[in-house]
């Protein structure tokens, strides 16, 4: 007998089909994984079940939760089901909680709006739920505000408010995508225990095959609004009958082909770098030391080398990056690029030698500029740069796999992957020798990510580029770098050639990071996994 039954669910928004004939069943106590690329309809399926589709959406088909129909209900009725029968958590823990209300209040509200408890009872139950998700009363009293919590802790609050009424079904939409590997592992463990101990069913939406393999019983693979393959996890993973499934597997294991050219000449040298935030004291009479975000960091990057820098958020990676780009001063030590010091006051010609690609393909461009202006922007670092500007832009766009005609378009006309190509073109336009890639592929889908990694490997070969590749994603770092630095609390705790470091980590923190990274279990790979994986 099934808890949730979805039959021929189709959704269109203003006539554009978004979901087509989606059918699946979820039984009590089951973890149902939904995988696919972004835009494949995973989140839309969840929102359709919750009755939270955007305005102008038309739904057809059937969905029932324990015999009670879900689709096409009037607002009042669906509101009574939302939160009480079905709980939902989302991807962005940083913005998913109301910043001006306490966590206790927000958890208790679920009980209050459904009329299940008065305020004081609701707060008591909220306390229990917060305890349940691993936020004990001593450290996390009810009157804490979201901004006082980390991303992982906020995601726990989200889970607490979603399970406040013990719903029979919890929908988790990319619940760990925005989190660090170690936090991700903790949240997944929590979700697993909720299913096992409380008998709740879970729909887990993710693009990460390794995450579902760890937790799901059944999965559905989606593409272009359809479920293309579904069944027990083991069967689907082993057989990989559908080309979409195979493509997802190939992309998530993708390692670009690279030629290692070991030079010995260092082009970037960081020596004893120290960066302290808030060195001034905050209060009049108490001396505060400030935060040592980067503490005695020393390393060098050789010509032609791809160097990885990994660590959790808050470890100082981004601070170090800003110092290397000469955007912030150091309080100690020095950084030299191509033999010349780097710092906020370095000349433009020095700045031109290091370029950067950031994480967010949406936020890092001015939406009112045409691509030609966006890509040509670094030219202000050079004199006489306006000579043959359009030719240079065309060349850069072509080298990243776009065409020259794209330069007269605006940024909103491009997809996330194309935008990241444009960001790379902007970094290439001055023909630098060193590019800093700050989480450059973290916001991309697996298959787009695979393409961008290929592009980066190819560019590195063609233009003898060196990369400083900063990421929290160990899998990606493993596939594209020659050497890795592991950073923790402002310090480099381990350093070594990539393969050696991953197969034989020595520092406990590195081991912890590697252990927390979800991996596809070996026994679920098809007999000829290697040949299929690289196909």
């Amino acid at each position: 007998m099934s808890l949730l039954s979805v039959q021929n669910l189709s959704v269109g928004i203003h006539g554009t089909p978004i979901l087509r004939d989606v059918s699946f069943e979820v039984r009590p106590g089951m973890v149902f994984g939904v995988v696919g690329e972004s835009g494949s309809g995973k989140s839309m399926t969840a929102l359709a079940l919750m009755g939270l589709l955007p305005d102008g959406a038309e739904t057809s088909g059937q969905a029932t939760l324990q015999g009670q129909t879900l689709l096409g209900l009037p607002e009042r009725q669906i509101c009574a089901i939302r939160g009480a029968e079905i709980g939902m958590i989302f991807q962005e823990p940083m913005t998913a909680l109301n910043p001006v209300r306490t966590i206790g209040d927000q958890v208790a509200e679920t009980l209050i709006v459904h009329g299940k408890a008065n305020r004081s009872e609701a707060l008591k139950i909220a306390r229990q739920r917060l305890n349940r998700v691993g936020l004990p009363a001593e450290r996390f009293p009810l009157d804490r505000y979201p901004h006082e919590l980390s991303g992982g802790q906020r995601q726990r609050v989200m889970i607490a408010l979603a399970i406040a009424l013990r719903p029979q079904l919890l929908i988790a939409d990319e619940p760990t995508t925005a989190l660090d590997v170690t936090t991700q592992a903790q949240i997944l463990t929590l979700l697993k225990s909720l299913v096992q101990e409380d008998g709740m069913a879970l729909i887990l939406i993710t693009h990460d095959l390794a995450v579902v393999s760890d937790i799901a019983d059944h999965i559905a693979v989606m593409e272009k609004g359809r479920i293309v393959e579904k069944g027990p996890l083991e069967t689907v993973f082993r057989n990989r009958e559908n080309p979409t499934t195979r493509k997802l597997f190939a992309a998530s294991n993708h390692a670009p082909q690279r030629v290692v050219r070991a030079h010995t000449e260092p082009i970037l040298e960081v020596r004893d770098a120290i960066r302290i935030y808030n060195p001034s004291r905050r209060r009049l009479f108490s001396k505060t030391q400030g935060l040592r975000a980067v503490n005695n960091v020393t390393f060098s990057l050789k010509r032609g080398e791809n160097l990885g820098l990994v660590g959790e958020s808050g470890c100082g990676k981004s601070t170090l990056t800003r110092a290397i780009l000469g955007l912030e001063p150091l309080q100690g030590g020095e950084i030299r690029a191509f033999g010349t010091p780097v710092g906020p006051r370095m000349p433009k010609s020095q700045r031109a030698k290091i370029q950067v690609v950031f994480q967010d393909p949406y936020g890092s461009f001015n939406p009112r500029w045409k691509v030609v202006r966006l890509v040509a922007e670094p030219f202000h670092l050079l004199e006489n740069a306006h000579l043959n500007r359009r030719e240079r832009v065309a060349e850069a766009l072509e080298s990243v796999g776009l065409c020259a005609d794209d330069m007269d378009k605006f940024i909103h006309e491009f997809s996330g992957g194309q935008r990241q190509r444009i960001a790379i073109a902007r970094a290439l336009i001055l023909r630098p020798k060193l590019i800093v890639l700050d989480e450059a592929v973290s916001a991309l889908d697996v298959s787009i990510r695979a393409q961008i990694l290929d592009l980066l490997a190819d560019l590195s070969k063609r233009f003898q580029l060196s990369y400083l590749f900063i990421s929290h994603d160990l899998g990606v770092v493993r596939s594209i770098t020659d050497r890795v630095l592991v950073m923790k609390a402002g310090e480099i705790v381990e350093e070594g050639p990539t393969e050696q470091l991953f197969s034989n980590p020595t520092h406990p923190y590195t081991r912890q990071l590697i252990a927390a990274t979800p991996r596809l279990p070996d026994d679920l790979k098809p007999p000829h996994a290697d040949s299929k994986g690289t196909a």
Partner: protein
């Protein structure tokens, strides 16, 4: 590390704000004093008229303390103000504090009255427009507020007089009986001016309210609230409203300052002896001591309102409490 904004954090926030409040006042007093000093024209000779002999002027200057050093005069002025002594008006020959306080008893109630009306009008209107975004109600409200901003308030004031005072005889066309004489009649005589002042302010405020609410409604935590089972309306009231208040508070603070000092035209239309008219007269008669004191009072009011707005920010948004 305990990051919780406790009562001490709020106290520290308030103390720091108070400190900056006091410093702003000192800076403003220096600027006002300096500006008045560099304005050409000698108040003594102005008071005595064109035919006064130089000796008389010199004697009067001495008597008014105009011959002592700048710093002494500044300190004298400031210490006087701290004791409630604002000096004596050159033209009226009465203490400035009397003059100003009489006017304040009209200007402050008028500003509060207008702000109340504007808020009472703007909040529901902005809320309805946001809740009915894109629907005819919203489009109608947006059009009406556009009109409300475009109409000059003195002209609107005259329309009010024509309709309610001359045609319908509901209100008097102008003047002010005085609070002690007749409270209700006084309040009534401030009603038309308050409406004239409030309408454009309410239009601006309603638009700010609407756009701020719409911004907030697009946030992820509204989706969370909806996933908990809140209806659209509940999510709007319980989660969007308070978050949308920050820009609205900023505008309200600015509006109060404007209403206090910017009502000169409306005061003229309704023959109200308010602060705006006093300053205007002070300037034309070169009654510098009146101008100086009245401007200082207005500055005080503006800074005090901003201080209040800052405190309200922290009440609304817990993230601001720990910071200075």
């Amino acid at each position: 590390m305990d990051l919780r904004p406790s009562i001490p954090a709020m106290l520290r926030f308030t103390t720091l704000r108070l400190l900056s409040f006091a410093l702003s006042l000192v800076a403003a007093s220096i600027v006002i004093f300096a500006v008045i000093e560099v304005i050409p024209g000698d108040p003594a000779s102005y008071m005595l008229g064109l035919n006064a002999s130089p000796d008389t002027v010199a004697a009067l200057r001495e008597q008014m303390g105009l011959n002592s050093s700048l710093i002494l005069r500044y300190l004298h002025w400031v210490s006087g103000m701290l004791h409630g002594d604002f000096g004596t008006s050159y033209t009226y020959r009465v203490p400035v504090s009397e003059l100003v306080s009489a006017r304040l008893w009209i200007s402050i109630p008028l500003a509060i009255y207008a702000l109340l009306l504007s808020t009472l009008l703007a909040f529901p209107v902005g809320l309805i427009a946001a809740a009915r975004r894109g629907k005819p109600t919203d489009i109608g409200i947006m059009g009406a507020t556009q009109l409300g901003i475009a109409i000059p308030n003195f002209w609107f004031a005259m329309l009010l007089v024509v309709l309610f005072a001359i045609r319908l005889h509901w209100f008097s066309a102008g003047g002010f009986p005085g609070w002690s004489k007749n409270f209700w009649l006084s309040l009534k005589s401030l009603t038309l001016p308050a409406i004239a002042l409030a309408l454009p302010q309410a239009s601006i405020l309603a638009r700010i309210m609407r756009s701020s609410l719409l911004d907030t409604l697009g946030q992820d935590y509204i989706r969370t609230a909806r996933a908990k089972g809140l209806t659209r309306g509940q999510a709007l009231r319980r989660h969007a409203l308070r978050n949308a208040m920050i820009p609205v508070l900023t505008i309200m603070g600015m509006q109060f300052s404007f209403l206090l000092a910017g009502a000169i035209i409306i005061e003229n239309v309704f023959f109200l002896p308010g602060l705006g008219r006093l300053i205007f007269q002070g300037i034309t008669q070169r009654d510098l001591i009146v101008v100086e004191s009245a401007v200082m009072l207005l500055v005080f009011a503006v800074i005090a309102v901003n201080f209040l707005v800052d405190l309200l920010y922290a009440v609304v948004d817990p993230r601001l409490r720990g910071k200075s």
